[in-house]
Structures are given as C-alpha cells and as structure tokens.
Symmetry: C2
Subunit: 436 residues, 2 copies
Amino acid sequence: MSAEASTWPRVVILGGGFAGLYAARELRRARAQITLIDKSNHHLFQPLLYQVATASLSPADIARPIRTVLKRQRNCRVMLAEATGIDRSRRVVTLADGEVPFDYLIVATGATHAYFGHDDWAALAPGLKTIDDALAIRQRFLLSFEAAEREPDAATRRAILTFIVVGGGPTGVELAGAMAEIARRAMPTEFRTIDTTTARIILIEGNERLLMSFPPSLSDRARRDLEALGVDVWLNARVTGVDADGVRLGDERIVARNVFWAAGVQASPIGRSLGAPVDRAGRVQVRPDLTVEGDDRIFVVGDLASIMDARTKQAVPGVAPAAMQMGRYAAGIIRREIRAGAKAGAREAFAYRDKGNLATIGRARAVGVIAGRHYTGWLAWFLWSTIHVLFLIGFKNRLIVMIQWAWAYWWFERGARLITGPAATALRALRGKREV
Amino acid sequence: MSAEASTWPRVVILGGGFAGLYAARELRRARAQITLIDKSNHHLFQPLLYQVATASLSPADIARPIRTVLKRQRNCRVMLAEATGIDRSRRVVTLADGEVPFDYLIVATGATHAYFGHDDWAALAPGLKTIDDALAIRQRFLLSFEAAEREPDAATRRAILTFIVVGGGPTGVELAGAMAEIARRAMPTEFRTIDTTTARIILIEGNERLLMSFPPSLSDRARRDLEALGVDVWLNARVTGVDADGVRLGDERIVARNVFWAAGVQASPIGRSLGAPVDRAGRVQVRPDLTVEGDDRIFVVGDLASIMDARTKQAVPGVAPAAMQMGRYAAGIIRREIRAGAKAGAREAFAYRDKGNLATIGRARAVGVIAGRHYTGWLAWFLWSTIHVLFLIGFKNRLIVMIQWAWAYWWFERGARLITGPAATALRALRGKREV
C-alpha cells in the first residue's frame, strides 16, 4: 500500500466464510485498509462439508487459505486470530492476544448447531461445522465398520452398526443419504465377516416432515428417496437424551454407538458482545441496512444476522447465497460512503434474492426449487452438482471435485476413506464401550 | 470362501506397507487363508509423504484403504488391530485385544526414524512416518508464517521463521527443498507484513555429504541445488541438543522455533518379540531366505529385515523397491510350498535387484542413478515424477496427483495449505513460546 493508504478508513471484517469473503472482495477497489480476521486459515465451502464427513472428498478439495483467495487484493490483510469481543465505545475488536481498531466493522462469524440446551451431548454426538468436525465424523463412521468386523457378539455388532443422525434439514438428509450409500454400495465387497448392507442409518426429525425450508411435496420425495436408500426416517421424533449407548426419545430408546448431530442453530458468541438485541438462538437483530441498533458503521451479516425480509416478510434463511448477498450489500454501503466521504443519504434496505434451494440425497437423487419450479431425481442432482462445482473457489478444486464425483458415480468408490490418528487404539475404545 | 477353504494353511501378514501388501498380492491365487493385520486402515505411499507435510498433496491422494486394495482377493481378510507380540511356540500373533493363529507368518512392520537415544526430542522435533506426522509438520510449518505475520519483535520473528531439518537423506532433502520453495515462490504475495523469502531453512547432516546412498557427485549436486533454492546446508554437523527454542550442535546454537526430524532408523518393536538376533537399530537379522533363525515359516521382510545381499555383499537398503521385492519373494516361497504340500527343497537366497535411486529436491530439480547412469536437473525430476505417479495405487489417485503437480509446477500454488485443529489457539502457543 502507498503511504497515503495509511490514512484510509479501517474496515475490519470478522469471519472468512461466505459473508466475510464476499464483503472483502466487494471492497477490492475501495480506498480502505481492510483487515479480515478468522480463527482458521481457510475459507471453507460449507455446503460440501458433509462429503468430507462421508469420505468422498478431502478437506483441501473444499477449503482454500483465505490469504490465497485474497492475495491480489493489496488493500486487505488477513489475520489468523480469535476475536473475543467488540468494544463499541473504544472502536476496537479485542482478540485473545491483542486488539484491532476499526472505523467500519462487518461481523460475519456465523452460527453452529445447537444441542437444545444440552451442551453435554456435544461430546457424544458430534456436529458438522468445521473440517475437524467432519474428520471426527468420518473417523467414527469408518471405525465402526472395522470394529464390527472384529466383534463376535451379535448385539454389540448391531449397536456398533447403528448410526443415528439427528436433524432432518439439508445437512442431516445429506449425511444420512451418503452414509447409507457407502454402507450399501461402496463397502460390501471389502468385508469378510460382516454384511455392511445391514447397517442401520436412522434419521430423526422433530417436525412432521424433512427439509422444512422446501415445499411439502419435495420433503415427501426426499423421505421416499432416503427410504429407498435404506435410511429409516423417523418424523415427529424428539430426542430427549443422548448417552454413550444411544439416544432416548421420550419412552423409546435406540441402542447405537454412533450419534451425529445436525439440528438446531446457535449463533457465534461474538454477537452478544455487541450489546444489541439477539434472538433465542443468539443471532443479532439487525436493522434493514444490516447495522446494529445505534451504530451506522457496525454491520452484522450472514448466519449471525437475524432479519425479516422487507418484501416477503419472512426471515432471511441461514444459507450460503444469503450470506454472500449480505456480505456484498454491507460492503457496498461502506464502499460508496468511503468514496463519497460521508454517509451517502438514506440506505436502501437489504433485500434477499432467493435464487432457489437444492438438497442432495445421494447418487442421482436430489430435490430442489428454482424459480418456483420443482426438481427431483437425476435432474435435480445434476443441477445441484453443477451449481456446487461452479461456486467452489479455484479452478483446480473444481476439476478435482468433478473427478472425485465422476469416480464415485461410476465406481461407487469413495476417495478419502482414511482413518487418521491412532486408529487401532480408537477401535479398541469403540469395541469396549459399555453396553446397556 | 468355500467350506474347503477353512482347512487351508493360515498365512498372517503383519503390516500393510509395500512389503506386506505385495506379499498379500503374490498369494492372490494361493489356497491359503490370509489375514493382513495393520494398525491403520490404509496403505500409505510413503515416498510422497513429504508432499503432504509440505501442503502439496492431501493425505487421501497418497493413501488408500487396505481393504479397498484387496477387496477382490477373496482369500484375504484385513484386520485393523495392533500386534503386540509374536508367540513362536504357540504359533499366534498377540494383539492388544485378542490373538490370531498362523501357520506361516510374514512380519512387515517396518521402521521409523530415531532420535539417537534421545526419545525426549520426539515431542520437540516431529518426524515423518505417518499421515498424522505429516499433518503435524504441515500445521507447524504453516502456523509459523501466520505467527510471524503478527509478531512485532524482530528477534522472535526470526526464530519463528527459522526451520531446521535434521537428517540429509532423501526425506530431509525433500522436506527442506519443498519448504524453501513454498516460502520463496508460493507465499510472498500473500503476506503484508513479513517477507516470507527471508525464512531460513537449515538442513543439518552428520556426514560429510547429503544422500549417502547416492554417488558423491550427485550428493554434491543436490547440495548445490538446495543452496540455489535458499536452503542452508550444514554438513558434518551433529545435533547434541534439542529444546523448545532451537538446537545445539556442540558449542554452537541455532535459535529456531521449528525443528523437524528426518534422521536415524529404529525398527518396529515387534521385531524383538521374535527372539531372533537384531542389529543396533532393532532390525531382525534374517537368513538368506528372509526367515528367522530356527523357523522356516516365519519371514521378516521390508525395512524391519536386516540382510546382506548375497551378490553385492552390501546391506539391502530400506527403500520401497526392496520392500516390494522381499514381500513378493517370501510370499512366493509360501505359495510354492502350499502348492507342493511340503517344504519344496532348498530355497534360493533373496537377491535384491537395484533398479535405481532417485531423490527430488524441488521443482525441476532432482538427482538419480538408473542402471549406472547419473541424472540431474529437469530430466531427473521428470523421471522421478513419472515413476512415482506410476507406482501410486489407483488410477484416480494418479490423475489427481498429476493435476496437483501440474498446478504447482505452473502456478507455484500448493493444494493443501490447511491448518486444522484449533488454529488460533495453536498460534498463540507458538507466539508465546519462551525465548532464550
């Protein structure tokens, strides 16, 4: 940056997800000193994370260093650090090891799943939000088949080969579908003792249908597609307990050594440090221009923001396209105001453009709504694949993901069935778990 | 397997590396009940492991589940388990959680690096033998640049950006070369505060030249190539101490936050449980037919075996081709004896066919000897790349590795620069390390 640049306004962006990254890019030509802070070094293409958890893709296929993505944007520096709070009066973001002053702030630290107030379930039922989460789920899933292959007791074997996925949103549907496919298509010829097609995959949803953000007919189709893959779908079922041997649903009990969590929403705790009103999930209630009450220069975008769409009177959903749009919108305001040298009149309210919604169930199976039209089966799956590949960042990643998918499509083989860490020790622990 | 199969001789193979896997394959048509036991679920293409450690490849690119590799071999089952010992009188392999009886046994559990008797250095100076090792090194390497970017103190920054690689064999040379290339070619445009080209990479070798298994002229060329990449090569230098702030070499001290270990050889402890004579590194001294003293049906193959080549009167080196040849040789004897129904006369001594030796230094730089001819520079590197891609298991892995390499070649971009685990916390720990 030139010497003059040191007088430019400081824009701090917290979070390098879709919202944060699209905000930074929108400011690429702005006369601003931008700092993007994230606690991990990579931008993650979250919609494909379940494919890492189910051994189809490698982490690097869907993640790229934020630095690499922004390397040509000379007005932006990237900082690996964990923000601990925001001091609105002093205009600084506090870190665990320092602080960063700002003139404008865009908070985009997202949300994760929630255990309905039972945080102690987290250790028993891992969720899926980061690469580490995905690797932990992959590890548990793959190890179970290894443990079952060596387990002489039939009841224990059955418990080991019962997988429960809690939450029938897109992530839960995708996880359950992919797990069923691996057990039924990829693995059977590789084991000599167990029949992997007998593995039970149970998807539990508290509502009366899956994929609540889709039209009922598509929810129904997703359920039937999952059942065709061998997934047990339990609707109107509320998990009331989780322990090392399974889950409880009221009076009912399912014995299972593996429970995976894909339910609930819990906003990043950084939202609360803004001192603005938050909703039940901890999301910050923002004004129509995505700023927090009483502060025109602090924006909250992406999954952390709670906002009603001005046109549809519906909550803007916590999906990637909404995050991208919010990031771009907030950064656009900042860009224009920096150029104008002041607050540039009244700000137009944020309006979410819903371009459609797709969820995949398995090979050649998906459901979706695009421009009001419903899609199912192979065509929906093809649209889903194409759109997801196109939105991946980096040409090489696109190429590699396409190869991996083509392979899985034709040969049913998964590319990343690795158990890392001390596998044999973990297996003993899994086999040795106390029984009911 | 047919009912008759349960009367076939039981062949147990310990280890799914090159030696164990090639042994199993050699027995693919044998009337034998084969059990391959490994403590991890994947076969690892070790010669490319340094590329995982230096963020060029993903673990799944060079590893494949042993089950998948052997899925069509119906006479072989694969067991994820850790062997703890071998009971020769009872003819069983003992596991941490069970035991497995054998008629024939092939022990192929390999070797790892050694800390010259200072096992306490292991935590300070990670070595490179497993995928977890590679990920730990990658993490440390990448985190250092992140920490340096945020470090105001110049001396601390220098310590953070000093990387020491101990051991000038192929692994050490490859690690040092790749690290220098990333720091000088891939990273410079991505950082705003530090100049990554000032990172110091120091390669320390105790002998008077690098790559002792190569002719002296190639060792010299490798040193010059490394120096051209910016690596400091220290020869005749013996590490006498390692602590959190660097290494000591006699009276000399190098301040460095990162020390990586690629020296020494230490055989798998399972070798000692055979009760046969072992060499200083713990390798089992086998007879010319690779069996242990006093037992015609227990073979030791691969890096765990210590044997003089009958023709050359030289020790068979611990390299992948030797492991493959030994595995095939031992399994061939078993195959023939099973077919003959008895010990089939005198066994021909194992003879190592040395097909050549290649080591890579960086992009378009390598050295090698093939059929007595010396190769250097681009041609050696091209041979090295081609041979390594061809020996990878699985067509898809070959394709993906070629894409990754082509990308790195043209764009200097590395495919897998991910820091996993709690990165921000690890970074604080690295920055906060006590100074000398």
